[in-house]
């Protein structure tokens, strides 16, 4: 009978799928009933409907043409005088014209295919990917013949050196990348903070007096002279500091850190010990610092220990003092690496 049935036989009896349920003369499995009868569209039988579809497609294509013209009109016609209203208008005008031009063309083409091109289903036959036994034998024979001709099996010296050369040649490629960057050295562990360096306001600049900060104040800080650094952003990425003023009795400095604060003013690294975002959301009532990237939360009253979220280490504290005129300066650099963890960090 049909291809379909033969195909069904070939396939349906795969290993392990025979359902031994047949009884009497009843088939074990239903048979594929074959394609349903073709249902004609209105346009196939009614020339009026076909003409209507033809007109619809033509209207869509005309709309697309109008859209294309409108794109040119919007690009040339909308005055581009550097005012934002005009930029906004131009973006909308060009964009909507593009929509009309492209969308109407697409819909027109699809509508044409759907309504007027033949819609009776056609059939292609598949072939297994795997070759027939004869084809496979022939392929094996060819490969074998070629291998013999090359003599690679008879000449192990060539075979082995070929493998060696093949394995070795790509490896030097990696070494070409050697000068893509310097070795880390101790760059990850150091910042530009040094003893006596003044704290200045970020981004405005200018030294800060201890008396500038009221209770509950916070000031974003950069070391003085950061704008003169060769790589400003690199320096900023490590040196950003947040200065906060709390009631001095709320602070619980650990041993060795007793004199790191000035009248309840503490300075902590603003770079998250998790992934390096600026931890700058200071809640002055709870004294919590929140990182906006992954919600690590640090408690300023407990030396910025982590109290929530994915960070592990406390924010490093910058020891500060005041000079004779009352300006804040660093007692020293950070005593540990700031920012995200890395393998050699220890």
């Amino acid at each position: 009978m049909s291809e379909i049935e033969r195909a069904g036989d070939a396939h349906g009896q795969g290993p392990g799928t025979t359902l031994a349920r047949g009884q009497g003369g009843v088939a074990e499995k239903f048979e594929n009933p074959g394609l349903p009868e073709h249902r004609h569209r209105m346009g196939d039988t009614d020339p009026k409907a076909a003409r209507r579809a033809e007109r619809q497609v033509a209207i869509l294509l005309v709309l697309s043409m109008i859209g294309s013209v409108l794109i040119v009109v919007s690009i040339i016609g909308v005055k581009y005088d550097g005012s934002f209203n005009q930029i906004s208008l131009s973006t909308k005008a060009i964009g909507l014209s593009m929509f009309l031009s492209l969308f109407a063309l697409g819909v027109g083409a699809v509508h044409w295919a759907k309504t007027l091109m033949p819609d009776d289903e056609r059939i292609d036959y598949r072939h297994r990917q795997r070759g027939t036994t004869a084809e496979r034998d022939q392929a094996v024979a060819i490969l074998k013949e070629g291998t013999d001709e090359s003599g690679i099996a008879r000449r192990p010296l060539i075979r082995n050196t070929l493998i060696g050369a093949g394995v070795l040649f790509p490896i030097p490629a990696v070494f070409f990348f050697r000068d893509t960057g310097p070795l880390p050295g101790d760059d990850l562990s150091t910042t530009m903070w040094r003893e006596g360096m003044y704290l200045t306001k970020d981004p405005e600049g200018g030294r800060i007096r201890a008396s500038d900060l009221g209770l509950g104040s916070v000031v974003h800080v950069m070391p003085e002279g950061i704008e003169d650094q060769e790589e400003i952003l690199n320096a900023k990425a490590k040196a950003a500091v947040l200065l906060m003023r709390l009631e001095p009795e709320l602070l619980n400095p650990g041993s060795g850190r007793e004199d790191w604060a000035v009248d309840g003013i503490v300075a902590y690294s603003k770079i998250c010990t998790h992934m390096g975002c600026p931890v700058a959301l200071y809640e002055q009532q709870t004294h919590h610092l929140l990182c906006p990237c992954h919600q690590s939360t640090f408690d300023v009253t407990r030396e910025c220990k982590v109290i929530f979220g994915p960070a592990k280490r406390a924010l490093p504290q910058l020891p500060i003092r005041v000079d004779a005129e009352g300006y804040l300066q660093a007692q020293s650099g950070f005593h540990e690496a700031v920012g995200p963890s890395f393998w050699e960090r220890g």
């Binding site: 379909i4 392990g16 550097g82 909507l96 929509f99 292609d124 070795l183 390096g276 994915p310 890395f342």
Partner: protein, 559 residues
């Protein structure tokens, strides 16, 4: 008529030339009438392909104006809130191409929206392939290529997102650097080689630019060509139905129907993305400001396709960072980023082969599964989707907390538990639903369709009249094969039960196929009918006639 002949002549001339130089006639003979099956879900891959083409087109336009340089410059453009600010060339040129180039802002928005749609369409396309079993032999390799393309799409998106050098993208790069730093042993070295020294440095913008516009697109384009080549040699899969077999493909010819449909669809996709880009702002880099490591905005998120990784990072508890022997192992970062990517890619690549082990089935499959007929696979898929969506929600936990006035901490705590509980529940529930749907199919195949007509029998009982199904209607419900666990059915192609592999295979097979509903057989229908449960004989006869007619139709078609 004379114009007609001129056209004909020109066409003949071109055709002749194409054949002489490129063997066009052979190509036309081989491809023009290739049959493609028609189904909306087969267009998902086309959305992906077309948005990629749109990305190439708009991206090329953007490169004409974009300056891949981190060199400092003073902003002198028309956006007043940035007047006199020190910014990078990359950022200044991104603003210039948005504000000073006619259509530039639109192109940027089309490019960015197309990127979001591109990755989303990739995922939906993959889901379609997964849930219908289209990854089965002989298409395993193409599934793997698709998986690699999906991963590359995410990297391609991320590198593009980083190029404008605005505050948000810089924050993203900072996090990417932390991900690299968290790689044990070699992290700091990779970071320094990638960034040309410390973060951020001057080098990453030109390097990311090369990766974004040359390296990744080239690799992706090559893989897309292979991906499509495989579609051609395998021929497209089709949904089961009357007349559809493992040995044919039923649909419409490439020329002219699919040339018009698929060609037209490209313009539809481009049109829809242009519409969105015309009306909706995306990534307003001027509002974020130039990158500076000190400021940050509330709601610092990556583009959506990185959101699941960001969400995973947010859920990880901090104690998983371990310091010992003078070294730090940041599992709190390494696990939810590098490890999870490797795990998901590994699972993706391994899945078709794992299922082959469970089924012991080495045959080719060109008829798709209805998802309900593969309950375990569908359950696993929904489980994976649930896991992914939960991580995605976690990635937006601060936005959700703000909008819904919830506590960010509670959301995180809830998700830490839910991430393990809900996917398991999703698996069980989905599997049950699939089995339930299969039972319903059986019911329908056995007793026919519910008509809503209630009949009162002479002895007072009310029954609903069921109309018998035509053979065509029934076929879809009964056509599938059912797999049984190897325990109860000794299989020739199953591994030796005494080996470790054999035992693993049997356990897997049991996991997959222990719960199952088998399709109705002719014998069962016969038995159901002989109970005289329903209907008149006349209706049956009518069905019989229709059956012959249907087969007749298919035969004519074959000829």
């Amino acid at each position: 008529m004379s114009s007609q002949t001129t056209v004909d002549k020109v066409a003949a001339g071109i055709g002749n030339y194409a054949d002489d130089t490129a063997g066009a006639s052979k190509i036309v003979n081989g491809f023009a009438r290739k049959i493609f099956p028609d189904h909306w879900s087969f267009m998902l891959g086309e959305i992906t392909l077309y948005s990629f083409v749109i990305l190439l087109l708009t991206g090329t336009f953007l490169t004409f104006f974009y300056e891949p340089s981190a060199a400092e410059t003073t902003y002198t453009g028309i956006y007043a809130p940035l007047a006199g600010q020190t910014v990078s060339e990359a950022y200044a040129s991104s603003l210039r191409l948005s504000f000073d180039i006619r259509g530039g802002l639109l192109m940027r928005q089309v490019h960015h929206w197309a990127a979001l749609v591109f990755v989303a369409a990739t995922i939906v396309h993959m889901a379609r392939v997964f849930f219908t079993g289209a990854f089965r032999k002989p298409r395993e390799l193409n599934w793997v290529i698709g998986g690699v393309l999906a991963l590359l799409a995410v990297f391609e998106g991320f590198t593009g997102y980083s190029l404008p050098d605005d505050l948000l993208s810089g924050t993203g790069i900072r996090i990417a650097d932390a991900i690299i730093l968290a790689v044990p042993v070699v992290g700091s070295y990779i970071s320094f080689f990638l960034f040309g020294g410390e973060f951020p440095g001057q080098d990453f913008i030109p390097r990311f630019f090369t990766i974004h516009i040359l390296l990744l697109p080239a690799v992706m384009l090559a893989l897309i060509v292979v991906h499509l080549f495989f579609v051609v040699i395998h021929k497209h899969t089709q949904y089961p139905g009357p007349g559809r077999t493992e040995d044919n493909v039923v649909g419409f010819p490439l020329f002219p129907v699919y040339a018009a449909k698929a060609g037209g669809f490209f313009f539809i996709v481009f049109g829809v993305i242009a519409l969105i880009a015309a009306l909706f702002s995306i990534n307003p880099i001027w509002a974020y400001g130039a990158y500076d490591p000190s400021p940050v905005t509330a709601g610092s998120q990556p583009d959506w396709y990185m959101g699941w990784l960001d969400g995973a990072v947010r859920l990880m508890p901090g104690w998983t960072e371990i310091s010992a022997f003078g070294y730090t192992l940041s599992l709190n970062i390494f696990i939810p980023t590098t490890v999870i990517i490797l795990f998901v890619m590994g699972a993706l690549v391994a899945y078709p082969y794992l299922e082959q082990i469970a089924t012991g089935d080495k045959r080719e499959h060109h008829l798709l599964d209805r998802p309900r007929n593969a309950p375990t696979r569908t359950g696993l898929g929904v489980m994976a989707v649930t896991f992914y969506v939960l991580l995605w929600i976690s990635g937006g936990n601060d936005i959700i907390a703000h909008i819904m006035q919830l506590s960010i901490n509670d959301i995180t705590r809830f998700l830490r538990v839910a991430l393990f509980v809900l996917p398991a529940i999703a698996f069980v529930v989905t599997k049950r639903i699939c089995l339930g749907l299969q039972r319903k199919d059986r019911e329908k195949a056995l007793h026919g369709r519910e008509t809503g007509r209630i009949v009162r029998l002479p002895h007072g009982e009310f029954i609903e009249v069921h109309a018998p199904l035509s053979d065509l209607e029934r076929w879809t419900l009964v056509q599938h094969e059912v797999q049984r666990p190897m325990e109860i059915e000794d299989r020739v192609d199953a591994g030796n039960p005494d080996t470790l592999y054999g035992r693993f295979q049997r356990r897997l097979s049991k996991f997959y196929f222990e719960d199952r509903v088998e399709p109705v057989t002719p014998a069962e229908v016969e038995a159901a009918h002989s109970h005289g449960e329903l209907g008149s004989d006349e209706e049956h006869l009518a069905v019989g006639d229709k059956e012959n007619a249907a087969i007749g139709t298919s035969q004519t078609l074959h000829g």
